[in-house]
Chain length 367, copies 2
DNA sequence: CTGAAAGCGCTTACAG
DNA sequence: CTGAAAGCGCTTACAG
C-alpha cells in the first residue's frame, strides 16, 4: 500500500486507512487528528505524519452528519447585480472566516428548498425576506437566522435578530444636508409606490409635505407598476417586485425610467435635487439624465444611500448617506455566529450613519 | 406522537419516525420516498401522506454521504465586484437548476481548502486559475473541473475542459471595427505588463506595431507595478495580481490610473480611441477621463470586452465585443455537469463573438 | 492510554 | 413485496 493507492486511485483515503497504516484503531486516529483525548505520543506522531504524507483530508460531509453542524452559513439574497449586496457579502466572508465559518452564496434557492443545502444558519438580505421567513418557513425550520434591516423592521419579523441601518434617519440626514447646501425643492425616486411603507419614502413625505404641499407627488417618482399604471415604460415590469424572490428588473433600469419621467415633468416645476433609493438606482438615473443633456450636479444634484464601492467609478462620484456595507456584512456574520454558538445577542443592532461626500451635490448656498 | 414532536421539538423527523408511524421498516419508507423498488400501493400512499403531513424533508448531508454526490457545484472565483463574473454566475445558476444542481459561490475559499466544501465539481473563472489548479492541486483531487477561458489556454491546463471566448479574435475585431469607423491611432489599456501573454494585448501589439512603430508603447497602458515601476499611482498596488487568489485592487481603480496616464501623454501624441481590457476597467477609465474634462466619444472613443449588464447603466453606453456572459455561464454549467455525469464532452467549446454597439465610439469616417 | 461499539440519516443488495 | 443488515466516514462514551 502506498500513496498511489489513494491519490492516483479512485478512492479517497479515510481514517480507517490511516489506522491500518499506523497499526492502531480508528478511534486513536480520530483522537490524534482532532487533538482530543489521550493518545500515546509516539503513535500521535506516526499518525500525523502518515496523514501528512498521504495528503489526507477529512470528509466534511461525514463530519457534518456526525456533529450536526457544518460550519457553513448561507447568505440568502437574490440580487448580486446590486453592488451593495456584493459589498455586504465580502464583509461577511472575512468576519466569518475569522471564526472558522464559510459563507456560501446561492442566488437560486428558495425558502421552500432551503434545507437542500445544509448550513448552520442563514443571513437574510432585508426586512421583507425576514417577514416572510418568520411568517411562513421559519416556523418549521428552527435554524438560526439573522437579517439585514433598513429601518423597516416589520412586526412579523421581530423575532429575527437584525443589524439595522436606519433609513428613516438616513433620509432625514440627506434632506438636512441638501438644505444646508441651499436646496429647497427636493425630489425622491424609489422603486415602490407612494403607499409603500418604506422608511425612505415616508421620511421624504413627512419632511417635504410642508414645503411642496399639494404638488408633493409631482416630486415623487415611485417606479412601480401600481403607481404608473399603464405607462408604457412600466409595461415590461408589470409583474416585478410582486415578490422579493424574483429579480426581473434591476434598480438601474428603474432609475432610467425615473430620469425620463423627471425630464418630462421638469417643464412645470423645478427640483434642484433628487434623493435616490440606492446607489444602483442613482447610477441608472444619472446615466439617463446625462444622456438627456443634463449636467450633474450643475443642472440637478443627486444623492443616495448605500455607499457601495461603485460610488467611485462613476462620474461624478455620488454623495451618499450610508454605512460601509462591508461593516454591516461583518456585523451580520458575527451576530449569526453568536446565535449559532448560543452566545448572548441583542436583537437589534443599530449601525451609525455617515455622510460620504462625492461630487454629485452642488452647493447653492454660496450663489 | 404528533406533529409537535418534530416541528416544535428540537429534533428533525427522520425516515425511522415515518416508518414507525406507518408500521413499516425504513427500507420501505426509502423505497416509497425515492420511488424505487417495490412498495405495496397502500403503504406507499400512507408513507407519502405522513411525510407530507409532518413536513418531512430528507437530510441532504446523509444522502450526500451515502451516494457520494451532492448535486452541488462550486463557482470558484474571487472577484464578484466585476459584473462580468456576476453575469457568468447567473448564467450557471439557471442552467444547473434545470439539471437538478445547485451552484454555490464562495469567495473566501482557496484551493488548498477546497475539499472543506463538498461539491461534485468546480467551475474555474479563468485560464490562470486553471493552470494553477491543473499544476498543483488537481493532481490530488480528481474532482470534475471545467474552466472559463479567454483565449489564453495555458499548456498546463489543457486537461481541463473549457468554454472559451477567443480574446485574440475579439481584439482583432475591435480594431477592425474602430478602423471602419475611421480610427487609426488606437491605444490599449489593460491590467498587465506588456510582456504578459494575455491574448488581448498580444493581438493589439501585432496589429498596431506596423502603424505605431517605435512609439507603440506610448499607446500601451499596462497598469501593473512591474510596468510602471516607482510610479506613485501604482504604489498602492505593489503586491497586486501576483496571484489570482487575491483581489486587492479592482479593475475600476486601474482604469482610473490608465486615464490619468493617458491625459499626461496626450500632449505628445493623439490616440482617437482606446481599447480597454474589460468593462470594469473601461468604466473606471471613462469616469476619470470625464472628470478630466474629456467628452466621450467626442474627444476619445472607448471600446471594451465582456458585454456585462452594466454596459447600459453608464453614460455613454459602452461599445463591446463580447459573448453574453450569461450564455458562457450556462455553457460552463452544462459542460461540468456533462463531465460529472460522465457524458461525452468536447475539451474546448468556442463561443461565437458578437459586436454590441453602444455610444462610446465616434464614427470619424463621415467627417 | 486503547479499541470495540453505537450512532448521525440515509441507501441498497439480499434473503425471505 | 418486505425488513434486517451492512455501509458511507466520522465521533465519542465506555469498558478494559
Amino acid at each position: 500500500m502506498n500513496e498511489k493507492d489513494f491519490e492516483g486511485g479512485n478512492r479517497k483515503m479515510t481514517r480507517k486507512d490511516i489506522a491500518k497504516l499506523a497499526g492502531v484503531s480508528v478511534s486513536v486516529v480520530s483522537r490524534a487528528l482532532n487533538n482530543s483525548g489521550y493518545v500515546e505520543s509516539g503513535k500521535r506522531q506516526k499518525i500525523l505524519s502518515i496523514a501528512k504524507e498521504y495528503g489526507y483530508v477529512p470528509h466534511p460531509v461525514a463530519m457534518t452528519l456526525q456533529q450536526a453542524r457544518s460550519r457553513q452559513i448561507l447568505f440568502f439574497c437574490k440580487d448580486m447585480q446590486n453592488p451593495f449586496n456584493v459589498d455586504l457579502y465580502y464583509g461577511m466572508i472575512n468576519a466569518a472566516q475569522e471564526r472558522g465559518y464559510l459563507v456560501l452564496y446561492n442566488a437560486a434557492i428558495n425558502f421552500d428548498r432551503i434545507r437542500d443545502i445544509y448550513v448552520d444558519g442563514i443571513i437574510l438580505q432585508n426586512d421583507s425576506l425576514a417577514a416572510i421567513y418568520a411568517g411562513q418557513y421559519g416556523k418549521n425550520y428552527f435554524l438560526p437566522v439573522v437579517t439585514a434591516s433598513f429601518g423597516n423592521r416589520e412586526s412579523m419579523a421581530v423575532s429575527i435578530p437584525a443589524v439595522d441601518f436606519d433609513m428613516y434617519k438616513a433620509c432625514m440626514s440627506a434632506i438636512a444636508y441638501l438644505r444646508k447646501c441651499g436646496h429647497k425643492y427636493i425630489a425622491y425616486a424609489g422603486p415602490y409606490p407612494r403607499t409603500d411603507s418604506n422608511a425612505r419614502s415616508i421620511a421624504w413625505q413627512n419632511e417635504m409635505r410642508p414645503v411642496l404641499g399639494d404638488r408633493m407627488y409631482d416630486y415623487f417618482y415611485g417606479i412601480h407598476y401600481s403607481e404608473l399604471g399603464q405607462s408604457k415604460e412600466l409595461k415590461e415590469f408589470r409583474s416585478d417586485y410582486m415578490s422579493p424572490f424574483t429579480v426581473k428588473e434591476t434598480f438601474y433600469a428603474k432609475g432610467k425610467i425615473a430620469a425620463r419621467l423627471f425630464m418630462k415633468r421638469q417643464t412645470s416645476f423645478k427640483a434642484t435635487a433628487i434623493i435616490c433609493f440606492n446607489d444602483e438606482m442613482a447610477f441608472g438615473m444619472m446615466a439617463e439624465l446625462q444622456r438627456c443633456g443634463m449636467k450633474i450636479p450643475d443642472d440637478v444634484s443627486l444623492m443616495s444611500f448605500d455607499c457601495t464601492h461603485q460610488r467611485e467609478s462613476h462620474y461624478p462620484t455620488l454623495t451618499d448617506i450610508g454605512v460601509d456595507p462591508r461593516y454591516q456584512g461583518a456585523r451580520l456574520a458575527n451576530l449569526l455566529i453568536d446565535k449559532i454558538e448560543q452566545k448572548k445577542i441583542s436583537y437589534t443592532e443599530k449601525l451609525p450613519i455617515h455622510l460620504f461626500e462625492g461630487d454629485s451635490v452642488k452647493d447653492l448656498s454660496q450663489t
